[in-house]
């Protein structure tokens, strides 16, 4: 008599095994390693006020890294994400100022404008079937030009006028750019936005139908379509998610400085992608996590500020930044390999 073989899907896996199989595991280990390293390398790193600075730096990247990670899991890129943040801030600021309206009007119209750009990206991608690299590179360049051209045509200079004395500014600032005092240390509200986005995105990915669609579209688009996944809608939705993140970041930029320079944001799109990749997203799509992107952003924040806290030579800053990120990613990769081997 032969023993009945149990279907492998019915096998019980231990919690430990489950944790090892998570895409963010490597990034968590990388973050812990970077944290321990700078705790020793920089005297001032462990102070609460310093950690608040690090968390702020991580949060402004992290807010964008979350939707960018979702998009990458869905198999696409968005090179326009960096300047879209600036576009969103500019739209909000100029609409409020030019109409002499309550700034909340600008904030909501800016949301519509930004989402429309996201829809445009998604629509162009799904209609033309061109690689997202090309489509969003086009949007990136167009937005860079629009940011400057429109700002100059409307405001007369390359930065917007201050909206700090307008109605609604103080309440909008509370929402997008205030500080929360915890035990005598001030934390920026962007940290809350970041955590909320991570939680929401994780819920979507792991607990909803949309999450399954995102993984399916990124894993194999044609197969997903064949089994009835609304591929086009999912892709457009992902670009709208990036636009939503850009809107939050853009409003933070506007309400913390009250005016916006039109040339900002160029180059950040790559840093968002880097954060998502350090966090375990595959460049080829179909694999990754939102929590991972948060740890990716945290690693980036800790390294970029840690180098300053450690008071290393400023001329070598970029070298150290690159080297530390590479090391963190190598550790990440190694941990994941080990985890897969134990499966």
């Amino acid at each position: 008599m032969t023993t009945a073989t149990v279907d492998e899907r019915l096998l019980r896996t231990s919690l430990w095994r489950k944790l090892l199989a998570r895409p963010e595991l490597g990034a968590v280990m990388g973050a812990v390693a970077v944290f321990i390293f700078f705790s020793f390398a920089a005297d001032s790193f462990l102070r609460m006020s310093s950690l608040s600075t690090v968390l702020y730096a991580a949060s402004t990247l992290g807010i964008m890294a979350v939707p960018v990670a979702l998009l990458m899991i869905g198999g696409e890129f968005d090179l326009s994400a960096g300047v879209l943040v600036t576009s969103s801030a500019l739209a909000s600021s100029m609409i409020s100022y030019q109409l002499t309206a309550n700034v909340w009007v600008g904030v909501f119209v800016s949301l519509l404008v930004t989402l429309a750009i996201g829809i445009f990206n998604g629509f162009m991608l799904t209609r033309t079937k061109l690689p997202s690299f090309i489509v969003t590179l086009g949007t990136f360049l167009m937005l860079t030009g629009l940011n400057l051209g429109l700002t100059k045509a409307i405001s007369g200079t390359v930065q917007t006028k201050s909206i700090a004395d307008m109605e609604g500014f103080s309440s909008a600032r509370k929402v997008f750019a205030s500080e929360i005092s915890l035990g005598g240390v001030n934390f920026k509200i962007t940290i809350l936005w970041w955590l909320a986005l991570v939680a929401f995105a994780t819920w979507i990915l792991l607990r909803t139908r949309w999450g399954n669609w995102i993984f399916a579209v990124g894993g194999n688009g044609d197969a997903a379509r064949a089994v009835g996944v609304p591929v086009t809608k999912t892709r457009i939705g992902l670009y709208m998610a990036v636009a939503f993140g850009a809107w939050i970041s853009g409003q933070h930029l506007l309400f913390s400085f009250s005016r916006v320079q039109s040339g900002e944001g160029v180059g950040n799109e790559l840093i968002y992608i880097v954060a998502a990749v350090i966090g375990g997203c595959l460049i080829t799509g179909g694999y990754g996590s939102a929590i991972g992107s948060a740890f990716g952003a945290l690693i980036f924040g800790m390294v970029s500020k840690g180098i300053v806290f450690a008071e290393w030579n400023a001329d070598w800053y970029k070298f150290f930044l690159g080297a530390m990120l590479l090391l963190a990613t190598l550790l990440n990769h190694w941990v994941r390999k080990r985890a897969e081997a134990t499966k």
Binding site: Q98, M166, S256, Q261, A314
Partner: protein, 331 residues
Amino acid sequence: MRTRRTAAGIAAFAAAAVLVAGCSSSGGKDSEDKPEEGGGGKVSGPKLTIGMVTHSGKGDAFWDIVQKGAQAAADKDNVEFLYASDDQAQGQAQHVQSYIDKKVDGIIVTLAKPDAMKDVLGKAKAAGIPVITINSGGQFSKEYGALNHIGQDESVAGEAVGAELDKGSRKKALCVIHEQGNVSLEERCAGVKKAFGGDTENINVPGTDMPQTQSQIAAKLQATEGIDAIVTLNAGIAEAAIKAKGDAGSEAQVSTFDLNEAVTQQMKAKEIAFAVDQQPYLQGYLAVDGLWLYRNNLNVIGGGQQVLTGPAIVTEKDVAQLEKLTENGTR
């Protein structure tokens, strides 16, 4: 059908938002003074075409003021003014080449990356097109065959800041470089270090990302004890430095290169101690005027020597006079 209804709904929502939320009774466009129509005579003479090529990144407020000055002189001199910029040396040289091909009557160029401009300026000379250099790179101007140079000597300007810091009895300064590897920014910080009696440290920040710039400066203030002066090299970064100071609970004094509306407001609020103005408007204006004078009368402003437009130290006392001008974007 459904999508059309959704679109209409969004439009209606936006319109409603404008109506319901209503207008702001303070600030905004309605509070602006309406500009007066400027008169001013015009010169007669043949229409000239003058092209300017700078190393500006897109959307830099400083270069906007330069352009305004150049445009004002062009309007007065019956000149068609063309402008192009590229922060990459190669692109800048290509723009100059295209102006040579266009057979313009004069070229204005910056020498932030001098080596890359050498060949193309030689071609301009061969084509008989007069060149005036502005802003940075004055020491190369004559060598490359330009009529003269109109700008600010960056190290001299840095030294002026150092001296001013000494006057305020500062002990330790932080010089914030917002574009790694930019020669003129490094020269400014080197100038500060040379003239300042106390210590000077440099820090590199990502200038195109304000929140990251802010946290970078905050981290430095938290890490290094005793920094009592922050020197920023453009007006936008000064804003981030003021915020960073607040985040780090530092009492350091902020001063900055370049002047604009925001900086005058911050000087009024005593957030910025002083600003170093290199009069960008003048650089654009004099360069166009200089080429016009050369074309029409073979005059050379400054007799071929460098014409300095800065450093002029501006403090809170000057704010009252400068406020209107910075608002108009000409100072």
